[in-house]
């Protein structure tokens, strides 16, 4: 087949799509669904800018996923993290800790951070750094990003 009809759930909404089979999930999100919050970085699985979550908080790269093979999948992008306009604790912590410079890597960083905390609510600094291995920030570094994840971990523990 050259095109495939799929149902893709993004941030809780069902989308019925008929797409060329060679389109990546990233292209479908950004271009077909008009959701540019997931970023294109390297396109080859090195940088993590296009990180999105599957059900259960598993992080994958949208640039290395064929959208046509995602029939029925439930995807969360960074735009789906807030609840009733209130930022997710990870987003909030990125703001308060100043873990952002140019912001381009931020959606991927935030999604990866959410997946880290879903698997391990109390990660050590070493855990965080190891898990962030596939997310590259080219502005400044990772100190504030690590601090933001630690902060989010504390906030989430206290409100649980």
């Amino acid at each position: 087949m050259k095109t495939r009809s799929i149902t893709l759930y993004v941030n809780g909404e069902a989308n019925s799509l008929t797409i060329p089979v060679n389109r990546t999930l990233l292209q479908v999100l950004r271009e077909d669904l008009g959701m540019p919050e997931t970023k294109y970085g390297c396109g080859t699985g090195e940088c993590g800018a296009c990180t999105v979550l599957l059900e259960g908080g598993k992080s994958i790269l949208a640039c290395l996923t064929l959208a046509a093979t995602m029939d029925g999948a439930k995807i969360t992008t960074v735009a789906g993290l807030d609840e009733d306009g209130k930022l997710h604790p990870v987003q909030e912590a990125f703001v308060t800790e100043g873990a952002i410079q140019c912001g381009y890597c931020t959606p991927g960083m935030v999604m990866k951070s959410v997946s880290i905390l879903a698997k391990n609510p109390k990660p050590t600094e070493e855990d965080i750094r190891r898990e962030l291995e596939g997310n590259i920030c080219r502005c400044t570094g990772y100190v504030k990003i690590v601090q933001a994840i630690q902060k989010a971990s504390e906030v989430m523990a206290s409100t649980r």
Binding site: M1, K2, R4, P20, V21, N22, R23, T24, Q27, Y40, C42, G43, T44, G45, E46, G48, T51, L54, K58, S59, I60, L61, C63, L64, T65, L66, A68, T69, D71, K112, S115, E131, E133, G134, N135
Partner: protein
Amino acid sequence: MSSRILPEFDLLVPQSIPEAVEMLGKFQNKTAVMAGGTDLLVLMKAGLESDYVMSLSEIPGLDYVIYDPQEGLRVGAMATLAQVVENADVKKYYPALWQSACVNGTPQTRNKATVVGNILRASPAGDCCVAALALGGKVVLQGAAGKREVDIDNFWVAYRKTARQAFEFAVEYKISANVGKSAFKRMTRVDQDLAKLNAAVCLNMVGNVCQGARLAVGCVAPTTVRVKKAEDILKGKEINESVLKDVAAAVSAEVTPIDDVRSTAWYRKEVSGVLLKRTIEKALA
């Protein structure tokens, strides 16, 4: 050619193993078989063309990692590196495979990339490849006439070429039980790099005496290779500093690396022996 856009192809999404075999029988070498896609899609973005891509993603029941104390380990074609990393039996009984999966790619790619895919990619730098070669085991290939098993020793026939026929696809990699003490190590600049050198060992020990060893090195030949002269040195010997020194020298003498983008032949020759020696020490630690 672009890292944004994939070339055109026809997608095949078989819903069962018989359907997959039928499709492969029809389209044969015009088909690229895709498991996780983290390698294939990068290759295609870099210019690899294939008329058909056959995704295994909708064939149920291929994503298993099963350990049995008698039968050993079975890793299905869709079992991800992340599944292997999370498997306590792999960590305990096949540490070389576990360690190689832990550092292969990044957390995101490990959620999709598969052990079997890494083996089928047949790269001399594959981390799971070098671990598999040290551990031994077999690749299970499925064709229309049924399954056949190919010893990992005979599986890679040349650079990026395997014993798989165009009408077959790999459904499983399996390793027998009680393979011995094993470990994996590699050299990179940063963790997510492809290896400039990697090594894995599997040692059959009685006390401190090595009854037999499988020593594998990657990035030093067109395929991952065993260093058999070094294996012979270890056999029947008590492992001590002087034996390890002989093993390291034999490894460096036996390998035939090249210069490429990640390292030089000279460095690889010098360091492969040291890396293998340290991998033996890691396995025994």
